[in-house]
Symmetry: D2
Subunit: 430 residues, 4 copies
């Protein structure tokens, strides 16, 4: 692990006020005959599965998120206003590309990386999206597929948040089926050693403010990846209009990538990867992060609904004393606990070289589905006050719908898994 | 029925382009051996249950809503900007207080009134809320409980939308349990024939722009109703700040009613009704409207999801050809059809004097629950595009959550019905 | 309507102890200001939609079912022992083929017919299956497609229950897709005016005790219908082994129809109908009956769970006072009320010549789905006692699963409706 | 670990035909770029969390269950006929009380013990119930609370299946609320050193054939535990009638324990435990086993539904190629994988002394709920054939309902967890 991050983390570790594991409030008294008390914030003690280092990293992330991101979220979401500075802040703490070794990255485990995304998404899925795109999509693509020159030049800048990156796969007519993409690359007719990219990508997180664009395009019919650097694109060949009036993830910035004979040096093409393996490798990294992240958003909803239910009285009792309310809290706590265990298991398998993409489909699908279902139910606890954005759960609900949808809509993951279970594909109707 | 409304309606009725029942597109060819073809927009032919007059009124309302309201909704929702002019437009068409007889109201059936709310909510639940508050809450209160003088003076103005009305029951600390309200009335210590009202009502649709406030307050411990006229309130005794940054119903305007020794003439108190019977009578009228309205919002989601699924291709086929997509459409169509039948049945029973509040609880609860569940599922059909507000379903989803919550949260109606079914109350935990 | 049935019905009608509408127990006191009290057994007052005649027929059926069938059900189900005598009893009361005009049938409305099936299924879906096969499948087939000679000869005997009938469509390898049937008819090579039938039908209710078999077979590749009379079949050409050890519907008898060059006179072939229109016409009749019947089973579950919840005390209170219990009862009551309204609507449309098969798919699918879901939830109210068959709900649950599955599995109806809504078929994967 | 069991297990381990982990059929080919292929039988590779010893024990158990229990289940279930010999067989293999150290027990980990219950319940929940009662309830009670003399004398006989044990807590009027039990113990009025037990226990697995009864009764108002030995009870003081005509768990034997001044030696009373801590300790052991077991039943349903879907063709394709079918398989596989991880986590915590009862409530509740929900959905895959008991899923469905209900009904565990999360109890309505 990168020493500077470790140092920060350890310092926090030693600090008395460990935010998430020592709060007396989250534990009931142990039942007679048992040494251990139930901790509603971690009911199945997932923390036992994490190393001290991982816990320290989580604490660092949590502290940053609660102290620096949480106060900004309402205004950011209301105004669809993403603060570019956040990437720099995350970069300084070592949160970007955290599981990449070298290049100024923390070199932490996949679990640690997942815990970071969980803490960011506890605040907001949009903030987490901005980070995921930088880390799992842009940086992973460069790291896994780029030339050594690209890695040496770009990764440290991306890790520190000096450069912002994004990932251009989805097109207006091709969401769940990226293999049909229409964006093309062709050899530059006159300028040797260059390709020209043309086509449109949409729903691209970070695109309007990105410096680096990982773009997938068909070259002679084969999907290839390109690192497109905005600074090198002649005016008019690369435009990145923002998409406004979003119904969710309003604290992230989203846009299009419009390329019109945009020239890219040949050495910016990923040399060895062709087909969908390239983008899917990055997506799998992001998806595993989402499986952690969604649990963070769900836990925040649970925390807020529980607090509200304890404080709000109706018919002379706190709402928390109503059976129908308790059931909502219990269902959510259970799914959050299960989902965290499952994501952790896949992250461990990944670091051991024993994972496969279908496992990631399973935890991405299930954790997003359950986070969304439970967040919606927890929103009911707030009653009419749910309509005020200051109670936050409505924002998580809106966000989680999109989180369930992007990077593999739930049904698409069902069909990926269905194919793995049955050996038969059911994507294409007759 | 009020002749002017009838006239308008009949004209529309004769017009060739009946919007909702003759469109060829909504009918498949009949199956061999059957004269009737399936109409996905009205699968169980609820229209057979409506009179020609009711259908004509629905057409009038639908035309207005699609032509006048639909074009305004995106901007209104984005900016939380309710156009006060809408009440005047509705008033001109006879849509306000439509089932009141006399006082310039249309005197239509409860079914007709329900069909109007359905058409308005097909556009937006916020627009419907604004209308419901005017019609079912403010006007019904005046009509059922006010003195003849109040009726004669206020109803015609409310019916034409010249005056805007609202309904102050909910308080910051008392949502589901209005019997615990803290707002009080007391005799004016010096000015005879006046009461002084003090207290705060919140989440009041229309309050910031209302001229007339139906306010419920405790006088000597008994709940009484008052018609508070803004024009008569000395400065500082009545303030109505808007609540902004709402997570839904942003096309309606919502606020508080803050009363500080606000003087109200004794003749503005409802003379004969005490206790919760008064407000609950109005709420029951509104709730039945909501049971219709929610079906309108759901049908709009269905229409949009179906159109999208037919136009959007993935893996070489329209989405509509995928089994998982078809099931979503079918579930929604079924619940919309069932809910419309049930609401119609209760409306008919009401006009026949055979309804009771629990019936309304049943259809309010079920239709809101099912509208919300299905709208959420239909939103999935849109995939990533659901995140753009121009696809509208996300707005319905956000709205329907609040619609499910207000005027009796779903769980509260469960307990109302549970008490009716078992004879035992379960509202109050020990 | 057949006078004898009418007479019986009217007598019951006048009788003081109207079983289902006057029981004081099922009504709570009216809420202040309302004349009508909520009746948990008919929350949306579907009875208002029925004629006096229909109500009288329902009462007749209910009395018979509760007095004659209910006492037999436990032993019948335990031992998979269907009492053939039941058909005779039903025949005497006019319950068989009740909506056929003439031929000794009651000539009642489709609604009345539906109410009969509802009352029978209130006792047991297996008893209802035995009756439906006789009425909706065998008799409807003869009535709608048979020659006048067949009708005159067979219908009166079937109506009185002297002959037992069944319906052979499903084959071992062809359930949801009957168009692929393998049973064939060919002209008798030597005996003029005869066809030979060969093939196997399975899951045929009533087959082991049937006298008359409506069998669908391919003649020169076209599906044709035949009335096969057991008495005319030479030994060995028609065998009907029972299927034992069923997991549900154990009070009905189920078997196969094995035909090995079984000779059938040409005049027993239905002259004018070819293809799937024939069997589907009968199935649609049966399916509409099932939509009513499933509501009967659900209402019985509700009644039993409610009674148990009122009588059983835990933690010092009747279960009925628990919020989580009340919600289960309320959900079930709501779905039962909605389903009854919808089935009634389709039955009315059918009698008016305004129905189509997709409407029946909708109410069959939805009512079966909801009956099953709610019956399962109501079973939870019984706690451990659910494991005793004397509490009955477990039997309904097991039955309703099969009822949801036969005559169009829920998913198949989804695809039928999906095709009607979208115009695209999704039955056949690539 | 007991050497003899270990020896058996290791032998199996070395055997070539490892039943559950090496079957090529359950793995698809790895996706390009990944070494690991998805294994639908263990999608999240829970096996990585088990020691070689635990896997060996699972294999031993699985072999026995598939070879010895599976062939007996249909007849046992049909005829409600539990084969007492099974306890002896299980005893010989070391499966009884497997996580007890000493006394001839295997001394395996709690995870190993859970894997045994999973394999038994993969065949049938009734067989698992018979084993759980012996192991987790009777043996745990003796082991944790009995005198050394009782342990030395009874545990080895129970471990070998020579003695059959059961556990008497539930009473006819007290299911979810055992603290209200009516069974009493009093000092023998004449025979010193003896107590007299009177009262009735019901729904007691194994009672009709048990030799040893762990019975909980109130002595001077305090709950105490007694080891009642049938051989020592005078005739008429202890009767154990079987409960027949069960709707589920028919392969286990269930009955009552009726005690009428049944004399028990004072040394058979558990000396140090009073109150509900005693029975709840045993229940928690059993419940954790159930959390594993339910996953076994679910996996069997998945396996059978998948096989059926691959073999059964409709509309020209295997069912497994239908999207709606694939989704059912995927949902089930996901919940089985998640549930196994969660149960394993709690078992590990238990062995580390870090568990608490609420954790067990969580995994018992969730795993039972999800097993039941998914088993029901998988049953739909079978279509009409689900009605034949030879397809097995209907049996699992019926069993799992009871498994969800006993040892803490799902709602009760919700309230246990709700109390732990909120600090407020909601068991007792006003």
């Amino acid at each position: 692990m990168n020493p500077s991050v470790l140092r920060t983390a350890s310092r926090h570790l030693r600090a008395a006020n460990r935010l998430n594991r020592t709060s007396a409030a989250s534990r009931s008294a142990p039942i007679r005959g048992y040494k251990t008390a139930f901790n509603w914030e971690d009911p199945l003690v997932a923390s036992e599965l994490f190393t001290e280092e991982e816990l320290a990293i989580q604490d660092t992330a949590k502290r940053y998120c609660q102290e620096q991101l949480q106060p900004r979220i309402l205004e950011a979401y209301r105004n669809e206003n993403y603060d570019r500075q956040i990437l720099n802040e995350m970069g300084e703490l070592g949160l970007l590309g955290a599981n990449i070794k070298g290049y100024g990255c923390a070199g932490a485990s996949t679990v640690a990386s997942g815990l970071i995304t969980k803490e960011v998404e506890r605040v907001d899925s949009g903030y987490r999206s901005g980070m995921s795109v930088q880390s799992s999509l842009a940086m992973t693509a460069i790291h896994d597929f780029g030339t050594q020159e690209l890695k040496d030049r770009l990764l440290p800048e991306l890790a520190r948040g000096k450069l912002a990156g994004c990932f251009g796969l989805t097109e207006p007519n091709h969401g769940s089926d990226p293999g049909s993409m229409e964006t093309v690359a062709r050899e530059h007719p006159t300028k040797k050693g260059y390709y020209l990219l043309s086509g449109t990508k949409t729903w691209i997180t970070n695109s309007p403010l990105s410096d680096l664009f990982v773009v997938w395009a068909k070259l002679d019919g084969k999907i290839r990846g390109f690192a497109v650097e905005r600074s090198q694109c002649p005016e008019g060949t690369l435009t990145t209009p923002a998409i406004k009036n979003k119904t969710a993830l309003r604290a992230s910035i989203t846009g299009m990538i419009q390329m019109d004979d945009c020239p890219v040096p040949a050495e910016n093409m990923f040399p060895d990867v062709t087909g969908l393996v390239g983008p899917f490798t990055c997506l799998n990294s992001a998806r595993l992060g989402i499986a952690f992240g969604a649990m963070g958003a769900l836990e925040d909803c649970l925390d807020r609904a529980r607090t509200y239910a304890l404080e709000r009285k109706q018919f002379g009792s706190p709402l928390a004393k109503f059976q129908l309310i308790q059931k909502k809290l219990v269902d959510a706590a259970t799914d959050a606990a299960y989902g965290t265990l499952a994501a952790t298991q896949v992250a461990r398998l990944k670091d051991a070289g024993k994972s496969c993409p279908e496992m990631i489909s399973m935890v991405k699908r299930q954790n997003c589905d359950r986070a969304l279902v439970n967040a919606r139910i927890l929103q009911e606890v707030l009653g009419g006050n749910a309509a005020s954005d200051e109670y936050h759960i409505a924002r998580h609900v809106a966000n989680l719908f999109v989180v369930q949808t992007y990077e593999g809509q739930s049904d698409i993951h069902s069909l990926i898994l269905g194919r793995a279970i049955t050996g038969l594909q059911a994507f294409v109707p007759k």
